[in-house]
Subunit: 92 residues, 4 copies
């Protein structure tokens, strides 16, 4: 199922700057072959819903393996049946 | 990977009342065997992250199959390595 | 304007446990006279929208004054014109 | 207090397309003099927290006055004391 999503990953109990973890997460989304658009409050992606979920799980696994103790992720997921959901279609 | 999550499903372009769709979504979470706590702004669940994601996909598939044209879902996902994440541990 | 809301306050760069800050935030919501229901992923409140916003600002001010360097808050706000929005009406 | 925010307004019980309402909301943010960046999953703004909240209230009031029966808004609010929060600083 095709979906659009917004993904925001927040490490908890790490430093005040979370730039390293956010860059890592963004890299994993890019490796996943998902079309990804970074903005100031998260990363918007479009692609297959299962692949989006798999990428989010990989972000949690990777950050935990690299030392982040606690992670809170905010996801928005959009699907529709009247046309293909895409990021461009949500702009005006 | 064990996770806690909050799931809020919003049908777009359906009626002003979304009770039918929310009950349907809640039923699917219950069927998935996830421990689920309904509250006024979503449903909190705890369980395996892959099973949580599979249940969310099933909610989208089911509601679309039953006529909902557009769905926006808000998810919060929490994981941690210092102890098992659980819903009870997030209360005080 | 009457509203229902969900408020989740996340201190960034503090400890892995955020219990102290969450309890503080919850206390400020209670002092504000807003009907507040704590759940595992935030606090649901119902009341006047301006008072809800004022309480959120007071939470940020108070936690910053007490040493929290960075705060990220997630808010859901619901209003409607067909009937009074209330937390009970969102359950089934 | 200076803040960064993400604002996503969802009309419930309106049409499958919410473009008209989203454009209206975006216009109100622009009129408020807040620096606003539209993206595919919301609008990021930076400015005074009270002015951000006032603009969100005005969006709800305006859309309701123009016929939207029910509105659900998702807000992310970020403040920090170590430096001025700004949208540019959240990119890398």
């Amino acid at each position: 199922m095709k979906a659009v999503a917004e993904i925001q990953v927040i490490p908890i109990g790490s430093g005040v700057s979370v730039r390293t973890e956010v860059k890592r997460a963004h890299g994993i989304l890019a490796e996943a072959g998902l079309q990804a658009q970074l903005h100031s409050y998260g990363t918007n992606v479009e692609g297959d819903l299962d692949e989006i979920f798999a990428a989010v799980r990989r972000i949690h696994e990777t950050l935990h393996a690299e030392g982040t103790v606690r992670i809170s992720t905010f996801l928005k997921i959009g699907t529709r049946t009247d046309k293909d959901p895409d990021l461009a279609g949500k702009l005006f």
